[in-house]
Symmetry: C2
Subunit: 224 residues, 2 copies
DNA sequence: CCCGGAATTGACGGGCCTGTTAAATTCCCC
DNA sequence: GGGGAATTTAACAGGCCCGTCAATTCCGGG
């Protein structure tokens, strides 16, 4: 099987001008363009210009603007999912594991502003595209399972409160982490706060950990 | 002076067809349209259709699409600022006052989805319009002063920790409150969670209070 | 009664954008 | 080396949208 795949891929690779290379470059450019200007604001011509191709070629590969956008969504979600899978928490005490999850999530948002902006754009569109695309609906997020296991361990140790829904915790972490990226402009302008500064990032990230952990520890070990 | 203003305004009111009535209806329609479709997605013709006027008339009143959008932003920010001014907290114990602030903020976002969507849209545009409009830059938000006073009282009572920045607290509250509205579509789809349900709103709102209050109480009363 | 100015309309011009289609180019395989 | 498929290009058509401008309606005051 490996041989078959190899030969097939080799055949596909040596032949034409630059199909998959072009495809990959177009997708990367599309991620940047859609993240920067939103679905409607993004221009197919701009994506073509970024990749030294033409609008017709992009349609030849992806079919339409919406299809291209869906490919973008699929890609960035796959990336965060893969990154989440890389987290190794089982050897950490529950509190430290929580802190690690928060740091990872917070830093991922700060470092992947494109992803955050795409998520926000899709929500502003009321999830219209996502809804109609099955492979995006069934996309699971390992972070919730990880969180669930950590929380269960903390509860078993008597360190965490008992009535905790992992999804609620993830939502709190995601909300606090995304806000810095999503609302940095209005919030920074209104409250004279620079939100991109690295020092502030570390401080706020720790505040998120503290918020979650103090809440998790609240009235822990009470009689069940 | 009052007489002058009165007579001038009376003269302005009785005269023509429906200038300020039209103006108000256009602004309301613009809020809905911009909130629903974003700046670029919004159509001047759609706003005109909603108000039984024409695109030319809207430009006659507001000058351009961008000017109209700025008037929209100014309006919705003025509204939340006025609502925040109505909060009366001085007679409440600090913890109860915090809970009240959280409830107010959370409910305001849930009940004013247009406002939230406009804020998000402006952030997606990197605050481009807001930056260039002085009256939006100098807009202050009473909620931070209220929060600061409440926190100071809680610290004086020894109930709240000492190193607290009111803006940080407001950011946490705003982040958790906005997330339900802003990310309801992707989050709901990915995690099979209905986020509009009223019961869930009350539960999540209380979680926000608990998060903030347990954090505020953490290591309070320690030696200064 | 008529006039002057505010309010309102219809139409034009220019720009940008997307999807398609037919033609041209390139490269692989026989 | 030639057939043929895969890739790429150039140009077209249709749609939407915005700002403007001259023309028209309407109202109130002299």
């Amino acid at each position: 099987m490996t041989l078959q795949v190899t030969s097939a891929r080799a055949a596909a690779m040596r032949k034409p001008k630059a199909p998959e290379a072009n495809r990959a470059r177009i997708l990367a450019a599309a991620i940047a363009e859609f993240a920067s200007r939103g679905y409607k604001g993004a221009s197919m011509d701009a994506i073509a210009a970024r990749t030294h191709t033409t609008r017709a070629l992009i349609n030849y590969y992806f079919g339409s603007k919406e299809r291209l956008y869906l490919a973008v969504l699929e890609r960035v979600y796959a990336e965060i999912r893969d990154a989440e899978r890389g987290l190794e928490l089982d050897h950490l005490p529950p509190a430290a594991a929580i802190r690690r999850i928060v740091d990872f999530t917070y830093d991922y948002y700060v470092g992947h502003e494109d992803f955050v902006r795409l998520v926000v754009a899709e929500n502003q569109a009321r999830g219209r595209h996502m809804k109609r695309f099955p492979s995006l609906r069934t996309l699971n997020r390992p972070i919730v399972d990880l969180l669930g296991r950590v929380i269960a361990r903390g509860q078993a140790d008597g360190d965490f409160r008992r009535d905790v829904d992992p999804i609620d915790v993830h939502m709190a972490i995601a909300a606090l982490g995304m806000f810095n990226v999503t609302n940095q402009y209005t919030f920074g302008t209104l409250f004279q706060r620079e939100m991109g500064g690295k020092g502030n990032v570390a401080r706020r990230r720790q505040m998120v950990s503290d918020l979650v952990l103090t809440w998790l520890a609240e009235s822990a070990g009470q009689p069940r």
